[in-house]
Every structure is written in structure tokens, then in C-alpha cells.
Amino acid sequence: MRYLPKSPADREAMLKAIGARSIDDLFAPIPAEYRLNRDLKVPRQMAESEIVDWFRECSRENAEAYVTFLGAGAYYHYRPVIIDSLISRGEFLTAYTPYQPEISQGTLQSIFEFQTMICELTGMEVANASMYDGSTAAAEAATMACRVTGRNAVAIARSVHPEYREVLATYAHHQGMPLATVPFTESGRVNLNELDKAITPDTACVLIQSPNFFGTIEDVAAIADVAHKHGAMLVVSIAEAVSLGIVEPPRQADIIAMEAQSFGVPLTFGGPYCGVIATREKYVRQMPGRLVGQTTDRNGKRGFVLTLATREQHIRREKATSNICTNQALIALMANIFMTIYGKVGLRELAKQNLAKAAYAAQEFGRHAKVLFSGAPRFNEFVVQTSEDPYAINGRILQHKIVGGLPLKKFYPELGNAALWCCTEMTTRAAIDTAVSSVAESERIVKSVKEPADVQEVAR
């Protein structure tokens, strides 16, 4: 086996040194009746070239080289090549959690920079070293709000990513955390009157997403007013991090739960991604997840350490703020490098391109079908309602090696034949025009079928 660095002679010598006759002696503690006396039924040992071929075959069967209009919590942005050059360095890739700061300053300083940039972008005072992903970060932010307020209920907007809501429901189920769902209005934004009614004296927080699942930017200030009036905290989930380049961050929030996948993390069929929680300094001791802090060594030299560990499971055990142990260090490093590359000016320009592409596409789709929620500003996603089932339209678009928008029936049956479309800087005008013409064609056919039918109706 090519990963194993021992010759048969080495093994012999080591067994001799230990005083064992054979390797079986070392497995004697396992009761004989349970020992496996056969080969595992897994594929035979493969050569590296065979492994590459096996996965190439999988890759080819996986929409390779397709253009996508899917967003919905996972975004296709350009990844500058130096991200992979840098994260592939063994010193980052093959290091453990930086519990030994003297030989982990590289990881620690990069996380400190990550925390700083997340604070700059979100307008919050502190950010952690990362969480599993945006969905679990949102659920953990809600439980954090319960700890801070001493209340136990959560009001969650229906315009939050449906799978994020499902995760929260799973987390809430056994913690005695009642959930109230707040509807959206014609503009796609949170219904403020309904929100006001949904908040009770037990409500620890209001959880919204902005831009929300439909791509609509919420009126965060108005929502914050309603939440705060009732003594509830405001938790804002951000699933499309690139929006922070051009959209005012939700500064009125008490906790922000982010998904940083858009910052240089490949789609990879849904993970690994990079959640983050950011909040006000006064809540830091109730925050879950790892934190890096600045300090000095014995000679007064600046250095970084993992800090405030008394919140965490390895110290507090069942009284910890969360059971979370790992973070997403390597993915946070991708995000860190991405934020550094685009920086103060580039991130705004990048976000502006996303805005322009989506605005163009929404306008073009709007010529032939109904674009919902046009009463409020949006970032790079929008909802198109067609006469025909979007699955059928997407099936035809797929023939152009284009993946159309996400049909919303599964999550929002009330929206009928609606689909969520996303455009990023990677979406070309040509692809938009092809998709729009497919939708236009669909509308034309549906109408031409309908019209003669209507005529007959009248005739009868």
C-alpha cells in the first residue's frame, strides 16, 4: 500500500522490539468471536490513475461544463487561482486546530484577519472563526439569542431559505423552542404587521434573511424596530456574501449568521461551506464556535491564540454554548484570501456586476413572463412566474447545457409556476438571452394553445 511507509523488515523489527510474535498478538484484546476473518467487501485497491479515471467518469455525469442559473444558497462565482495555490500548501492543508499557538501562528493570524474582515463587512464588532455552514450558523444564532435573552421562542420569516428553516426546526425541536413563521408581502419582504403579531413575550429573536430567499433585500431597520420594541433580538442570515459589496449590511441586527461560500468556495454539490456568526461585543461570551484573539509572548511580541475557550465543549462539557468542535478553517482561509484579493474596491465592483446582470435578466424575463416581488430592491436573484411548469421549461433549456432557475413549488406551492433565477458575474448575456428565449417560446406556445380554446368556449 503506497501510503504506508514500512518495509516488511521494519514491521518484523518492531514486532520483535515490542516482544510480540505476530501482529495478531496486538489485536488479542478484541474478543475472538468479533474479529473479522475475511476481506472487507469494498472495491479492490486501485492505482492512482484508476482513481482519477473513476472520478473523471463521475464528473462527466455531473453537469460538467454546464451554465447554471441556480443560486438559492449556493452561488457560482469566479475563484481566483491563487486561492487554491495557497490553501494547497501542506502547512495550511495538513495542520490541526491551532491549540499549540507557538507552531500555529500562520493559521491563527489568518483567522484573526478573517474575523476582522467579517466585522468590517457586516458592521458587527466581533466574528467567530467560522461555523459548519449558513444553515447551522442560523440555528446556532437562534439558540444563542435564547441564552442572551433568557427567552425561548423564535419568530422566523418564511422568506428565509427553506432548508435553513428545516435545520432550525430540527435544532429547536428538543430544546423547547417554539417557532412562529412570519409571512411575506406582495413585495417579497417580511410582513411587518404579521411580524408584530407573531412576537410574544417569550420571543428571543426574530430571524430573517437579507437578501432573502427570493433575492429581495429586506427593510432591516423597520424589522429591527418591531423586534426591539418587544425586547426580542434581531438575527439576520446572509446567504449571498457577495451582496455585502453593494448592499448596506444589516447594522441594526444583534447577531448576523452568514454563509461565506460566495467568497471563493467552490459549489462542490453543497459543501463544505463556511458559516460565520458575528455579533456585538457584549454578547461574545454567549457566542458558539472558536475565536482567535491577539496577545503577546514572554518577550512582548505580538501573537495570536484561541481564546474564550471556557464557552466550549472541551472545558464546559454539557454546559457549553454548543457542542461544536471543529470549525471550517480551510474554507475560512479560502474566504479570507478571496476577501483580500477583491478588498475594499473590488468587492464593490464585483457586487455591482452581479447587480447589473440580474437587473438585465429580470428585465428581459419580464418582457415575456411575470417577475414577482418587483416592489422591493433585489441583489442577484429574482423570481419568474411562467404559465408553464418551470420543470418542463428547464428540461428544454437543459438541452443547451444550461441549468434553469430553481422551481419553487416544492417550497412555496402558493407561488405556482415560479422559479428562482440567479445571475452572477459568471453569467453571460448570451446565456441569459438563450434562457429568456426559451421562456418566451414557452409563453408563446401556451398562449397560442389557450387562445383557440377560448374562442371555442365563446362559440359554444
Binding site: 495538513t94 490541526y96 509572548d297 464593490r348
Partner: protein
């Protein structure tokens, strides 16, 4: 210092400030293509939602970014540099072909919501890995969704709860041995269970008599790490399983130490009802400085209705797809399907090994741990003489007489060119030195490690002050962690 360090030599590395300290207006590392759609008026589109300023975000060039992160990287220790003997962390070699295949275009750029018709490649990876892991663990079904080991524990206990609920009552307690990892009790609390401690016996194993007296109809499950955190296989595992099952309880296995068992014994065969695996330990996916992990949960048939949604299925036409309609499911624990990139890597590792490689890997891991044990026996105190599997736990009892604790020895080990072992864990061994070499170490590296540990033991006798002040060769000396926690500085400010 008269002791010779054969493994490491000091060399110059570069100083580097924070990235913000290199920023100045007008520098850039990015270039966007020309816009092929009309420009937009952002003020008109966004109104008051428009952001005007990105604060103190940096402005630097590409070469500065390359140098910045390359310099930072040289301040880290890594498996690629040498042995990383962290107990229960399984710091093994991270094969590079894993990184290559996970970056293939269709896999790296696959969107989780693309139609199943054009996702057959990803689904095949999910299914093949599932089949391999089910066979390796001897279980009946699996979910790959949990994002890490602790997340797997959460998922597992949610299923435990749903299982008992389906029988009428969720029950109240989870039994956890005193040698357990801190995530176990923290997880039990998250699922609404009370934690009851289970004492270990003099051999470092579960006290079966105590378990029998503590087990009753209020106990939902026992969370057991096997081999446990002392590196000891629970030899009475069959009795443990019987005691749990007799009173309707479940046996949960924390699979953190699965590297001691793969291909040699299967938890499903010795009575385990459910267990999580750490793909970032046993299955070689990189730790990356603290994540991403991946924590699949393998289960017996009785728990299958409660698996998180969705589940991969083979459809009547032979194609693969996701099934969402599972009324008894515990729900979803994460958006999408889990850390797919880690599945690709874990499967590549399994294919590279095959059945013979997996078995040899386990044998070498156990051989290495026993070789270290033999080499250091008599030099460091061995609190439990029970046979060792893949890791060995010593204590600092001898050295503590000179005022030198496990953390001090660990810090001195850095000067010898090694990453420290796990210190002060498990909690049942005061001053623990927990050492797991994994299969990835050649005999030469193990000999250097043993030599270094022996040398430090001598230094403790000769010059304990020098050991207490270690490390002496790193960029920074011991850092003031108390000050860091008392007055936290968690971000840079201009």
C-alpha cells in the same frame, strides 16, 4: 543545551505583519471582465439599501497576497513536515490525489440543486461511499449529512430520541463514561437529555457492574468510544451491549478511534446500534487547520426510519435520486447533503487502499502505538497497563515531582521538531500524555520521537527550568492566554 536534536534545525523565516498593515489605496489584486449588459444606476436600484463604503477592507496586489499567506504558512507545523502525535485526532497522511479528484470540474462546480438527471456522478459517489462505510462498520444504513463528528453525535442522538419516542417515551438520560470526549455530554444536553457519568474500572474500561446498576428504563443510550480515549479496546463490549439492549437502551459508538478497527473488527458485529465516523480522522480528509470535518452516522435497521432527509435511493428506472418523503425522519441537520467534497476524498482514500490496504493500515497504526509504548515504558508513567490499540496514554507523574507538567513536556517537544501529543486528556488520567502516531509514520520517525521524549525526560532531571521555559526555538515564546481571555482583542483596528 547539550541534548542533540536530530530531527530539526533552526532556519530563517520571514516576518510578516497583518494584511491591513500593507494596504494602501489604489493597489489591487483583481480584474473583472468588461460588463456585457448595460451598466446600472446602483442608487436607483437599491435606494437606501445601497452600501457606499467597505470600511477598512484591504487593498493589496497579488504578489503581496502570495507572500503574505506563504509566509504565514511557514509558521505552521503540519503532517507534511513530520509526525503529529495528537491522541484521538488521527493525524494521518492526506493523499494528494484526493485533492485532485475533488477539484474535477463537474464535482467542484456541481450545484446542489441541479436536476438529478445531470447529477448522477455525484449521486454515485454518495452511494458508493455509503456502501463502503456500511460494510466497514458492519451497519445497515448511513447518513452522510452531518458536517463534523460533533454534528454526527447530534444527529445520532436525535435518532435515538426519535426511536424511543416512537416506542412511547424519549427517555431521560444518556450514560457517558468519564473518559469520554467533551462533545458527548455537550451533545446530549443539546438533544434535551440529562447526562449521567459512568466510572471506569481499574483497567481503564467500562465498569460493567456499575453499568448494570445504572442502566434502567430511563436511560436512552450509552455513548461509548471504542477503543476508548486510553487506547483500550472495551473487552467486555458484548456484555455492555447486552446490558443496554436488555433494558431497551441503545449503544452509541463514538467512532473517533475507528482507525484502530477498520478491516479487523466491525462495530455492527459487536452490538453497536449507531455510530458516527470522522472522515477527517480515519478516512484521511485534511484537517486544514481545524476543519472542514465530516461526520457520517451509520445505523442498524431499527433506526432507519429516523434518518435525516434526504436519503439517496435507486429509482425504478435504475437511476439514482434523493428521497425526501420520510415521515418519521428527525428532519434536516444541515442544508443540502453534507460536506460532499470530503466524501470525494474519503472515497478516493478507500479506493486507494482496498480491503488489504485498509487492514494493513489498521495493523500499522496499532503497531506504531505499541512500539512507542514499548520505547517509553519506564521513562514515563503508564497509568493503565491494559494492552494498547492505536494510541497510548502516559502521565507526567514522574516529571511532576520536578515541577514539570505534561504541557511543559509538550512544549519542549516542539524544540525537537515534533508537534505535541494531546495534553491533559482524557480527564481520568491526571497529567495525561496522549499519543497517537497513526500508520503514516516510518520506523525512523518513531525512533526520533522516542529519542526526543527520552531526552526531555533526562532534561527534566538535569535542568527543569529550561524545560519549563520551552519552547526556545519558535517565532513566539509561550503566549499570554490569560490576558487574551481577560481583555479579548478579536479583530484588528486601525
Amino acid at each position: 543545551m547539550k541534548h542533540v536534536t536530530r530531527k530539526a534545525t533552526r532556519h530563517v523565516n520571514q516576518n510578516e505583519g497583518l494584511i491591513f498593515e500593507k494596504s494602501s489605496p489604489g493597489k489591487a489584486a483583481w480584474k473583472l471582465p468588461p460588463l456585457d449588459v448595460p451598466e446600472v444606476d446602483t442608487a436607483e436600484l437599491l435606494g437606501p439599501s445601497e452600501r457606499k463604503d467597505l470600511g477598512n477592507m484591504p487593498e493589496v496586489s497579488e504578489i503581496e497576497i502570495i507572500r503574505h499567506f506563504t509566509r504565514l504558512s511557514t509558521w505552521n507545523y503540519a503532517i507534511d513536515l513530520g509526525m503529529y502525535p495528537l491522541g484521538s485526532c488521527t493525524m494521518k497522511y492526506n493523499p494528494r490525489v484526493n485533492e485532485v479528484v475533488s477539484r474535477l470540474d463537474g464535482l467542484a462546480n456541481g450545484h446542489p440543486y441541479q436536476p438529478e438527471k445531470v447529477s448522477q456522478g455525484a449521486l454515485r459517489i454518495l452511494q458508493t461511499l455509503s456502501e463502503c462505510l456500511i460494510e466497514i462498520t458492519g451497519m445497515d444504513a448511513i447518513t452522510l449529512q452531518p458536517a463534523a463528528g460533533a454534528h454526527g453525535e447530534l444527529t445520532g442522538l436525535l435518532m435515538v430520541r426519535a426511536y424511543h419516542q416512537s416506542k412511547g417515551t424519549p427517555r431521560k438520560k444518556i450514560l457517558i463514561p468519564d473518559s469520554a470526549h467533551g462533545t458527548n455530554p455537550a451533545t446530549a444536553a443539546m438533544v434535551g437529555y440529562a447526562v449521567e457519568n459512568l466510572k471506569s474500572n481499574a483497567q481503564g474500561m467500562v465498569d460493567v457492574a456499575a453499568l448494570a446498576s445504572q442502566m434502567n428504563e430511563e436511560v436512552a443510550a450509552l455513548m461509548l468510544t471504542n477503543p476508548n480515549t486510553l487506547g483500550i479496546f472495551e473487552q467486555e463490549i458484548h456484555k455492555i451491549a447486552d446490558i443496554m439492549h436488555a433494558k431497551g437502551g441503545l449503544l452509541y459508538m463514538d467512532g473517533a478511534n475507528m482507525n484502530a478497527l477498520v478491516g479487523k473488527v466491525r462495530p455492527g458485529d459487536f452490538g453497536v446500534d449507531l455510530m458516527h465516523l470522522n472522515l477527517h480522522k480515519t478516512f484521511s480528509t485534511p484537517h486544514g487547520g481545524g476543519g472542514p470535518g465530516s461526520g457520517p452516522v451509520a445505523i442498524k435497521k431499527i433506526l432507519e426510519p429516523f434518518l435525516p432527509t434526504p436519503v439517496v435511493i435507486t429509482k425504478p428506472d435504475g437511476s439514482l435520486g434523493f428521497e425526501y418523503n420520510r415521515p418519521q425522519s428527525v428532519g434536516r441537520v444541515r442544508a443540502f447533503y453534507g460536506n460532499f467534497g470530503m466524501f470525494v476524498r474519503a472515497l478516493a482514500y478507500t479506493l486507494a487502499n482496498g480491503p488489504d490496504g485498509l487492514r494493513q493500515t489498521t495493523e500499522d497504526a496499532v503497531l506504531n502505538a505499541n512500539y512507542i509504548r514499548k520505547g517509553l515504558e519506564g521513562v514515563y508513567d503508564l497509568p493503565y497497563s491494559t494492552p494498547t490499540m492505536h494510541e497510548v496514554v502516559f502521565s507526567d507523574k514522574v516529571q511532576a515531582k520536578k515541577g514539570v507538567k505534561t504541557m511543559d513536556i509538550a512544549k519542549r517537544l516542539i524544540d525537537y521538531g515534533f508537534h505535541p501529543y494531546t495534553t491533559a486528556f482524557p480527564l481520568i488520567v491526571p497529567g495525561a500524555l496522549m499519543i497517537e502516531p497513526t500508520e503514516s509514520e516510518p520506523k525512523e520517525e518513531l525512533d526520533l520521537f522516542i529519542e526526543a521524549m527520552k531526552s526531555i525526560a533526562e532534561e527534566v532531571e538535569e535542568d527543569s527550568q529550561m524545560v519549563l521555559a520551552a519552547p526556545h526555538t519558535t517565532r513566539v515564546s509561550r503566549l499570554d492566554e490569560t490576558a487574551a481571555a481577560r481583555k479579548p482583542v478579536l479583530r484588528w483596528k486601525p
